[in-house]
Structures are given as structure tokens and as C-alpha cells.
Symmetry: C2
DNA sequence: TGAGGGAAGTGAATCGTTTCATTCCCTGAC
DNA sequence: GTCAGGGAATGAAACGATTCACTTCCCTCA
């Protein structure tokens, strides 16, 4: 059915080895032979069979990327960064979504292993490291993304989330807030735990109070739910600032607590609050939609694309056997906007 | 280096054929042989080589999906729908981003062809059909997504965008607006052209006026730019309603034109307007962030996940040689929220 | 004149899985 | 006791690109 190198070789009157050379090392073949082979390829509509190529090569030209949540624009950006850097090296990226579940993560890693991927980039679900070790033991280069590996055996690219949490909290303190709530969860997600820890440290040092409001996931919907919970309280019992573990939560919170423009507090405000007047709000990640919120959201920016592209760089370094920069850590950056009075 | 069926066979004291049978048709093998082989697989850490498998099978278990813009949550949902349906059949989905560019689309289609993908789902860049025909001629099942194929030769899943445009415009008319602006572009994108056409028809029939405000892309940033343009005009010259070609544009518009809550028109409003009071706004797609906007955005909902899963269904039908439902068309649905006074 | 060498091209072996025609062995029927 | 039938297992062939040791051919230079 399909046209193979054999057919092309016959058509062009050369051997299969020569066709392969034309494809991979044209400089080793005389110009007119190249032309003749190329003409045959064109005429027959030959398309290389990647499976055969990979079988011979022993590995594929694809990088597997496992993220916690594809719906989060932060990860979309990471993926874009990885993809464009990979493309520069003739590699492609396959994106998989673990939804923070062990079994989904394992399933995708199994798939990647069967595919003998070039390497794997993974934002690991908490404590699934044994599975990753097996991966590496099978000779598949692995880089942890958005997680600093304590274990020295994995390369990693991360952002200092403790520092990010500290920055966010200090900003809220600097605008005079003292009754601060952290909204996020589950805390088994390392990013959440670190941001909380950073905030706690900063607030503790300033004699502020930090309240923890847990969520089941880092989504807009959960943010809305948390917001409704805050509104249900007596106004004097509400925090005067909220630090959300990511922007999705923050946007949900914003939607549910903020007073609508033009509406009087009495009318349909129904206990809604002014932002940042009554409650200042800051998120994390600085996704595109953060600045698009009508009350533009303050946030802690992570260099998402850079994280993705750097992860690919590390993979290539491991690949080339160079001593890789084992742990790259980026610093987060405060972005002040309307939701904290900027 | 790597463990192959050969090694497993030797270890378990059986032939390679038997190992393969254990892997693929365990019911054909006696229970204790299955157990023995499984034990060897476990002990040796054998992992199937997918490339060899594909080479033999002639095709892969991967579906290629080419979308116009991965950053648009609408397409993320389509991808999720496709992925979950594909997973039910043991297939995976590789998502590629054409960014509405011919060459990027072609590059990815080439890649998919080399990979002998199981099938291709594509939201085609305008008029790149010849490339798709070649794909199909090479025996790769192809389904057009979010585009109704005029050419009967492709199966397709689409939403009636003309109808969607009509619905949006009629809604704006029904709340008394007559000076309506359509913001979107480039019109070479079929979705944009259709939505515009639908709006035009409805507004023409009602003696309203439709103004076209072009954009270079369907992004938040372009929406903001369009919004600034509207604000720069004399208030009497502004439209009283805006229909944005998608939600990203609408969110950008909202951000740039809406009066901030609590601020007087004079103070920092700087010519900003009330939404929906001065300008009603409706978007398209009904992405998650639409309802999260502080003035919740009215929109025209498309069943994104359903589009994705249906596309995979069509692919499977073509695959099985069944006469496929060649053109599936879903109807869009109006979702009224605060930005049009809901 | 002939050795040496380089450029061009050859084709068999290889990667690892699946398939399928074939063999082997056992049971049950006549 | 023999034979048909069937369950279980076998192993060689096939998939298609790449590689590499080897052959040809031709040119140069001593």
C-alpha cells in the first residue's frame, strides 16, 4: 500500500542505502543522484515511516510533558515554551494531563515509556517519585518541572514558591492589611504548601494573622465557592486581604465577592465588598486573564514559557551527557494591579 | 540494552509468539503459562516497544489534532473532549497549534503523516484543503473540526456559526440596541466571517446598523486595543452594543471600556462606559472565564467537549468503514449574563 | 604503469513486535 | 485401538528505515 524507500530506490534506479543517504546525508551523494531520488520521492508521494525510523534509532523524537492541569493557562504557557524550544531541535512535545492523580500520571508515563520518548518533563504529583526513578533507570532522561527535587538524582526547573508566598504576603502587609486569608488546596500539592509557608513566615514576622481557607482544587469554581463562604460571614469577621494560591482561584473569588460597578451596597450588593477597599486580593501565576479582570488582579508572576524552554534545555544537556545545571530556580516577581490598590 | 520479548521468552522458557499472545490475547494461552510470562515481564522490567508494534501494525494509536489557537480555552475543551473519548478506545491525542498559519499547519500534518497516525482532526486554516486531500489520499482518516465542509469528501463536526451570529445579534436587538458593532478578525477565519454574516442578516432585517471593527487576531490583547479605539470616539458616535467574535476579544474589550466599580464617571472613568448601561457586550464560545468576569459576560455557547468527542466518533466510524454521519452540526445556545443586562 | 586513495554507491543485517501456518499432544468418540 | 478435533505453543516471515563494511570506479602521482 504505502510507498517505501524500496519503491523509491527502484524508481530512481539506485539502492535503498542511497535513498536513505539522500534523506539523511545528502552531501554524501552526487548532486544529480540527489535530484533523481528527490524526483522519485515527489512523483511517488513517498512519506518516511517514522515507526521504522524510531525502531532503528531506538528512541523517538518526541518529548513527553505531564502537567497537573491543562486548563490552567499557566501550564499552557509552559507547554508553549517547551514546544518552541523543542521545535528548534526537531523534537515535538506530547502534552498529557495528570489532574493531580497518581494513576493518570502513571498511565501517561507508561505510555511515554512504551514510546521510548526522547525524554520526559513532569510536574510530578506529590510523592510519586518511585515511578519516576524507574523511568530514569530505564534510561529515559527526566526533568522535574515546577518542583525542586530534593533528591539530587533529578534535574529540575522551579520557581521559588516559598519566596513567592513571602512576596505576596509582604505586599499585603505593606498596604496595611493584617487579617490575611490564604485560599488554596489541597496542600498535598507542593506549590500550595510552599506558597502558604512563605506567606506564613512573612505574616508571622509582622505579627499579622493568617487564616487558612482550604479548597479541593485550584479552579475558578472552587474560588467562587470560597468567596461565597467569606461573604456569608459577619463583615467584622472577614479578612481584609486574601492571597489565593493561583489566579484561577483568585478570579473565582473576585467574581463572587466583589461589588458590582454602579450598584449601591444596599441594592444588589447583598453583602458584597469593595476590592481592594474592603478586601485586597492577590493571586499567583499572572496568567493573561489576570490583567483582563475588570479589577485587574495583582499577582505573582512566574516565567512560564521560560520554565518550559529551560526544561527542554536541561533535557538536551542530560542527553548530551553534559553535566547539567541540575537545579534551576527562577525568582517570582510581584505584579501590582488594581486588586491591591496598585 | 532494553529488554525485548526475546529476553522475556527465554526467561520464561517459551517462544516469542507466546509472549506476544500473553500480551495481546491472554485467553489463547494457558493460565499457568500466562502467569509465568507475566512474572518474567515483571522481573525483567520489560516494556513494550511501541515503535516496533506500530511498524508491524502499519499505523499508530495516536490521533493528531490541529487547532487554531491552544491558548483559547475553547480549543482546550475541544481537546479534552477528544482526548477522553479517544482514551476509551485506547488511543491518545497529540495536540498541535497552527496559529492560523498555513505553514505551521502543513508542518504538523507532515509530522502526523510520518507518524502514520490513526487519524487527523483539524480545524483547518482557510483554504488549505489541497493539503488535507493529500492526507486523505494517503489513507489517513480526516475529520474537519469546527468547520462544515462544503466539499462532501470530508466528514466534519461544526457549530452553525451563522445561526450563532444571528442569535447574538437578535439578543442585542431584543434589549433595544440598534447601533451595534461587530469586533473581530481576520475575516479569512471562517468562524469570524460566519458570525458576522449571521449578525448582519439579523440586524439588516430589523433596520439596525452594523458597524465592523476589525482586529488582527482573536486575542485578549486585540480586544483591549479595539476597546481603546471605541473609547477614543465622541460618546455619541459610539455603538450601544458590541458583539465580539469570541470571548477573548470580549474580555479584552470589557477590561478597556468598562467603568471601574465605585469610581465616578468624572474621576478616573476618563470616558469609560457602563456595561451594559451604555454599551451592552456579548462574546462567543462561553469559555469558563466568561462567567468569571466581574461583569459576567453574555455569550453564545458552543458544546466544546462534545465537538471534540464527536470528532473522534466520526473518525472511528470512518475507520470501521461505516457510512459516517458525514456532517454533524450542533446548534449554538445563547447564554445571557450581566453584560447584556441578564 | 601501477599503487594508493577518495568519492559514490551497494545491499545485507538490524531494530522488536505481531501474525500465521504449522506442530504437538491430549481427549473423547466410534 | 484408532482417528478426528481442538487447545496450546512454536518460530519464521514481515513491517520499513538506517547503518556499515564492502565494492567500483576513476583519478593522481611516483
Amino acid at each position: 500500500m504505502a510507498i517505501s524507500v524500496r519503491d523509491v530506490a527502484d524508481d530512481a534506479g539506485v539502492s535503498v542505502g542511497t535513498v536513505s543517504n539522500v534523506l539523511n546525508r545528502p552531501e554524501k551523494v552526487s548532486p544529480d543522484t540527489v535530484a533523481r531520488v528527490l524526483a522519485s520521492i515527489e512523483r511517488l508521494g513517498f512519506v518516511r515511516n517514522d515507526a521504522a525510523r524510531q525502531l532503528r534509532a531506538g528512541r523517538s523524537r518526541t518529548i513527553g510533558l505531564v502537567v497537573l492541569d491543562v486548563r490552567n493557562p499557566f501550564f499552557t504557557e509552559v507547554a508553549r515554551g517547551a514546544e518552541s524550544r523543542a521545535a528548534e531541535h526537531g523534537l515535538s512535545v506530547l502534552v498529557a494531563n495528570s489532574d493531580d492523580k497518581h494513576d493518570r500520571e502513571s498511565t501517561y508515563l507508561d505510555l511515554f515509556e512504551e514510546q521510548r520518548v526522547f525524554g520526559v518533563l513532569v510536574t510530578p504529583v506529590s510523592e510519586n517519585l518511585p515511578r519516576l526513578m524507574r523511568m530514569r533507570d530505564h534510561g529515559i532522561p527526566t526533568v522535574l518541572v515546577d518542583r525542586e527535587s530534593h533528591d539530587a538524582s533529578f534535574a529540575s526547573v522551579a520557581v521559588d514558591d516559598v519566596e513567592g508566598g513571602r512576596i505576596a504576603a509582604e505586599h499585603l502587609l505593606s498596604i496595611g492589611r493584617r487579617r490575611i486569608a490564604f485560599v488554596g488546596g489541597p496542600v498535598t500539592i507542593r506549590q500550595v504548601a510552599d506558597r502558604l509557608a512563605g506567606a506564613q513566615a512573612a505574616i508571622g514576622a509582622a505579627d499579622g494573622r493568617l487564616e487558612f481557607i482550604g479548597t479541593d482544587a485550584l479552579t475558578v469554581e472552587e474560588g467562587r465557592r470560597a468567596g461565597r463562604g467569606i461573604l456569608a460571614r459577619d463583615p467584622r469577621d472577614r479578612p481584609d486581604a486574601v492571597f489565593a494560591a493561583n489566579d484561577l482561584l483568585a478570579l473565582g473569588l473576585l467574581q463572587s465577592i466583589v461589588m458590582l460597578p454602579g450598584s449601591s451596597t444596599a441594592a444588589d450588593g447583598r453583602g458584597r465588598v469593595r476590592v481592594p477597599g474592603d478586601i485586597a486580593l492577590i493571586g499567583y501565576d499572572d496568567i493573561d486573564f489576570a490583567s483582563s479582570a475588570v479589577i485587574p488582579l495583582s499577582s505573582v508572576r512566574q516565567p512560564a514559557e521560560l520554565i518550559g524552554s529551560t526544561a527542554v534545555d536541561l533535557l538536551l544537556e542530560i542527553e548530551r551527557g553534559e553535566r547539567p545545571r541540575e537545579h534551576v530556580v527562577f525568582q517570582p516577581e510581584l505584579v501590582v494591579r488594581g486588586s491591591t490598590g496598585g
